[in-house]
Symmetry: C2
């Protein structure tokens, strides 16, 4: 089917994931607290919402073109949601935690009461609230448009592209149903149940450890009769979309189900727009919703990228695999699936294949061999993945279900799951500053996107390498570049800030103190005027530039020849340079957003503090372990690198990197305080006297800026009458340094930006 | 006094100029039309206003630090004012043109009636309206602060800096009065009077040609009894500022004059703030107002930079020159001045110097020798200027007054002056696109400044090399860079326009047609996709960049290897490149300001049209004569340069630059239509169907831009249903190409920008 297709062509597909998860207390009780307010209106947040219960989080990814991106984003959603829960965890299994009595299970509430709540009440009535708490993973899958077109172009084109596409999806669906028992075996992860779960179910099982019930060989109670299923198995007509809808409608007519949404099949046929029978007939199948998958308790997001790839390959197999003629295939498939769910850890379990018995292991091995052959034939990259699955079909002790039951036996149901949840939360915290799969973008943009997603603001990446995004909520559409370049700043304000002499001129006029310096347009006139500056503490810098290039600082003054050198360096960067007096004190970065100083930061050079035992090199190693430190500006702080500069710097104090520092001794490792060379960021927002915050706001207002990084020298931060001077205004201030400082409170700058942009 | 001072230190000074000039009809009659509305409220326009009469323009420069800049700006003010007069001219002489009866002379009116009008009525009553029409040049002069400080630092500092400064100015004033007769001789240019002037005066003179009256040897009737002077000569006490004010006040007490403003001396002592006796006592002398100078009819602005330099040197001479003791110096000076005014063309005229007779020529020569010595001693750059003045003192026929009377003799009073005025107007027109002394700034900025000045909007140059200016009127303060970067555009709009793929995305979403192309991030994937593009008319371009760099156009498609070359070229400029279909038709630049397309331009490559006689090279030479064409982007169009590219281009048609083109044949000289390589700009604003102007506005609005250059391809400009596509949006569109096109109407884009900036 895919002969002569490139790898890229075959794997052209779209993936969206929905993952549910119960909020539980630190005792594993279902949380009775309302859905966190920060996530906004449940109906309007496209990423984080609820399903049946108020306590049942639902994480929804947009459509991605690779399995990797979809899983990454799901993982990020987990991080965002988990870190907003106070003293609560996301239950890491599909089957519920400790459940209250039916009547105490809180149904999700909506800002506009109506159909959403009444439909949930109907379901609770019919299926019971405890079953409704079961959480799963749904994968929305479609073939890429180009792949469908290429496949179509290889036919004789006697049918329309649309009809061709419908047939593809119907064949995939039929084959999926026939073979999905294998996914139940591989991905089943619900072979233990808490004793507070539905008694009908618990009664049939044994207590294998504290509060843990199981039959000891199940793989997925969620996919069994204990799971959330229709009252009876509904066979449907998968021969054409019209026939399919007809068969569904007949069940509705008979009152078996209320509408198509109540059809809990392993795979759903979906069209564009809302999920309704009419829509399906009119628009045809646009994608498939795979509903077989249990949450993997060992994986933070609930689904590993390897399993996601396996599902993808499995679906392509369903597309390619020739179907056998066997009338009773639906009943047989359903029976196989249920058997595997309840008894799948028995590899010799007898399944039926077109009426003939075959063991789970043999049939599974057959399918795996087909997949391995397919992988090889088309040069796909899943060899290792398939090898691992082969081991799992050979050894049931490698299934998630077996591993989970062993853990429950050891620790008890609640503790086993809570420990996993706690570990996932810890991992989420250590990744809190980034947003997968956008880790190639600037950290500031990732932080802003993360905050937007949390609050249900939709985003589009307009230009990934340019960090150009779009945020949308209701009628508010905002274009944003590099997190701080927005519609709120006037172009000319930015140009003013870019020009140091114009900035100074305007600040002075507004009675804000700036260093009183001189401006030169050529080196000769600068040299002529050097007389007044020899021996004076001063700074020589180019008029423009934002990266510290060409700036020389002489805190103790300098000789003429050094000044001339510095002039030359500055003139390399700009045709105008400034000589300014050096201002005593420390430099602080004031982050002004709108009319408020939202954070103040002090940066100090890379440093270590001795412990009386470790060498400087060892201390650096320890400090670098911090997950906030990385390489290449993808983390809020950079790892401290040992280089020649550092060695020279240490030499001045007769130290080497092998020197052992006495306990408590703070040792700086460089002259400069740049974060990029391993410097530390220290939040001092709460220590800075109000007056300086006000001066920062006034400076920003003087140039008409709405987002502005104000660099201020202050001689004594404790003293609100301390001398100060504004050194520079930055129109593109980094936000991550305030969001995740090395020391001090993390400031939610991204939220301030969102408020400025009228997302409230 | 200035020993060991550098040239720069000695010449450190401030200059401001006020120049009056009557508006006259093309018959030389005083205009009875009101002051042109475009100049706004007379009280609020700091540059162009009126003096006594509604028809008496007054041009006022800000303070400049060099004589050159002050004169340049005055000249620009002349251009701005003269070109706004319809069928009127600025009378080029201090003595009036054809004057109506006293009662018909229109006194200047003001928006708020009050003191201004009543004071004028009082003066008319007392001195007569005809005298009030006399127009002069006043120079406001002060020594540079640094110069004063340096001179002060050489004293023993027993008096305060302020007192020291007062003494400097009082000495200058006394010496000026003693020697200013020399300026009357050199700069006097009013030795002819029209027969309609005050009969008291005309009756004492002879008719030397048609309607021209003179005594044949005067230099300056304006400085004579025929000029505008107090009823009697008022001696004043110049020994100290207190004594000076006391002596003035005593005349006011006696009712001789109404207040200090009515004191018509040759030099006025001025303090900061309004001109009043109280202010003078309180704040001291801040500058001197030189009032001796007649308008030079031969110079457009009325004063040459050489004469301005002479006056500067003369004032420094007055500062340095030791004073002799002679009690009767004021009466003697006044008498000398009056004599020179009436009989100065007699070089043997007997003047009195400290009571002793001396001829005009001998004394003049004495002063000139002093000046030459001073020039040499301090290494000043005025040797040639002084040599010329020496010739004038040797030969009265070189005076402006003699030359003017000769011209009047030949052509009659009115014709002689009108011809000069017409020539000045022509010269003004050919310089209409530039604003001296800011010709080093971008043309667009000069044009915007010019329009601001015209309308009485004050300006500051914040950063000259950056073209960063500030415009102020009332409470409206606007910062502007490069004429089109303003407070009205959002920063993010600019960033959108800078990014071609984001721009296209947004335009498409707004149902605006853009070329449907592909985007590539590396050359390999671009190469892979080339298949669809081979032989297709297309454009390959980098995602960013505004200067046409890296763009390859294949209107007829190309082979793979050419496309790969073009890809490489594009990737040199950006890490993302676009391949787009080539759109048929011609490219037009739509200038959108606010919500309006204010101009549409078509650019064509450099070209000449044959005359059957001239070679291409000769035709280029003729075309390059146009004053709109210059070099280095200081003019609206560039001169066509003959280079290898052009020769190769001509070769394709078997032409060389020596080919003689048949009459009427239009021959293009290059492929590209850039104005920078000599292309022509053709205004088509009135030909473009409204629909395209609307599309341009919608494109601009889609990205939130307020000032936007929209580049649109249109297949057939005549057809409002023609296919089109938006090629690019430019956030920094040049305005000069629309303001001064090669063909078509000149569009006042600058005014549209001022309106956008709320200057109305």
């Amino acid at each position: 089917m895919f002969s002569h297709f490139s790898n890229k062509q075959i794997l052209d597909a779209n993936f969206g994931i929905e993952r549910e998860g119960l909020r539980v207390t630190s005792n594993g009780q279902l949380s009775l607290a309302p859905h966190p307010e920060v996530f906004g209106d449940k109906k309007e947040n496209p990423y984080i919402t609820t399903d049946f219960s108020e306590s049942q989080l639902e994480l929804v990814t947009p459509v991605f073109h690779t399995t990797n991106d979809a899983i990454d984003f799901l993982d990020s959603l987990y991080n965002i949601a988990a870190l907003e829960l106070e003293n609560e965890f996301i239950w890491p299994q599909s089957m519920p935690s400790v459940t209250p009595e039916e009547q105490d299970i809180p149904i999700a509430t909506f800002s506009k009461q109506g159909k959403d709540e009444s439909y949930r009440a109907y379901l609770e009535q019919k299926y019971g609230g405890k079953k409704q708490l079961i959480s799963g993973i749904h994968i929305n899958f479609s073939l890429g448009d180009k792949l469908i077109q290429t496949l179509y172009s290889k036919t004789n084109k006697q049918q329309s592209l649309k009809d061709f596409k419908q047939e593809l999806y119907l064949k995939m669906t039929r084959n999926y149903l026939r073979h999905h028992w294998l996914l139940v075996y591989f991905l089943g992860a619900t072979n233990t149940i808490h004793k507070t779960y539905e008694q009908q179910c618990v009664e049939t099982l044994q207590e294998i450890s504290e509060e843990t019930y199981s039959n000891g060989k199940a793989t997925s109670y969620r996919n069994s009769i204990c799971g959330y299923q229709n009252k009876e198995f509904l066979t449907l007509d998968y021969s054409s979309i019209d026939q399919y809808v007809k068969s569904v409608t007949s069940y509705i007519g008979k009152g078996v189900i209320e509408d198509i949404r109540e059809l809990y099949s392993q795979i759903r046929l979906k069209s564009k727009g809302i999920y309704s029978a009419e829509n399906l007939v009119e628009n045809g199948i646009e994608y498939l919703e795979i509903r077989t998958i249990d949450i993997n308790p060992f994986i933070k997001s609930g689904l590993s990228v390897e399993d996601m790839n396996f599902i993808h390959l499995f679906l392509l197999y369903c597309l390619e695999k020739e179907e056998t003629l066997y009338d009773n295939w639906q009943i047989e498939s359903e029976s196989n699936s249920k058997k595997v769910a309840i008894e799948g850890q028995n590899l010799q379990l007898e399944l039926l294949k077109d009426g003939s018995p075959i063991s789970l292991q043999n049939w599974g091995m057959e399918i795996l061999h087909d997949l391995i052959e397919m992988n090889q034939q088309y040069g796909l990259p899943f060899y290792h993945l398939l090898k691992e699955k082969k081991e799992v079909i050979t050894n049931y002790q490698k299934t998630y279900s077996y591993r989970l039951s062993e853990l429950c036996k050891e620790k008890g149901y609640v503790k086993a799951h809570l420990e996993l949840a706690e570990q996932h939360r810890k991992d989420a915290f250590s990744e809190r500053f980034k947003l997968k799969p956008y880790t190639d973008m600037e950290l500031s943009t990732q932080i802003l996107l993360k905050e937007s997603i949390k609050r249900g603001i939709s985003f589009n990446i307009l230009d990934r390498s340019d960090n150009f995004i779009e945020l949308i909520k209701g009628t508010n559409i905002q274009f944003i570049k590099q997190a701080t370049k927005t519609s709120k700043d006037q172009y000319v304000s930015v140009l003013i800030m870019e020009n140091k002499s114009v900035t100074k001129h305007i600040l002075k006029r507004n009675d804000i103190i700036v260093p009183e310096g001189e401006e030169f347009f050529d080196i000769d006139s600068a040299k002529e005027s050097l007389g007044n500056w020899i021996g004076v503490p001063l700074v020589i810098k180019p008029k423009s530039t934002n990266f510290g290039l060409g700036i020389s600082i002489f805190p103790n003054g300098a000789h003429e020849e050094d000044l001339i050198k510095a002039l030359k360096i500055a003139f390399r960067e700009d045709s105008t340079i400034l000589i300014e007096p050096f201002i005593k004190g420390k430099e602080y970065r004031f982050m002004v957003i709108g009319d408020e100083t939202v954070a103040v930061l002090h940066r100090v050079p890379a440093n270590v503090t001795g412990d009386g035992i470790s060498t400087i090199q060892q201390l650096i190693g320890k400090k670098n372990v911090d997950p906030l430190r990385g390489k290449g500006y993808k983390t809020p702080l950079e790892k401290i690198e040992i280089d020649e500069n550092m060695k020279l710097f240490l030499q001045q104090e007769d130290f080497t990197i092998d020197t052992v520092l006495p306990e408590g001794k703070l040792q700086y490792l460089r002259e400069n305080s740049n974060i990029s060379t391993g410097g530390d960021s220290i939040d001092v927002t709460d220590q800075v006297p109000e007056i300086f915050k006000q001066i920062a706001v006034e400076s920003s207002q003087a140039v008409g800026a709405k987002i502005c990084g104000v660099d201020m020298m202050i001689e004594d931060l404790e003293d609100e009458c301390s001398p100060y001077a504004i050194i520079e205004l930055n129109f593109n201030p980094a936000i991550h340094i305030h969001s995740y400082p090395y020391i001090g409170k993390e400031r939610n700058i991204a939220y301030s930006i969102l408020k400025l942009l009228d997302f409230e």
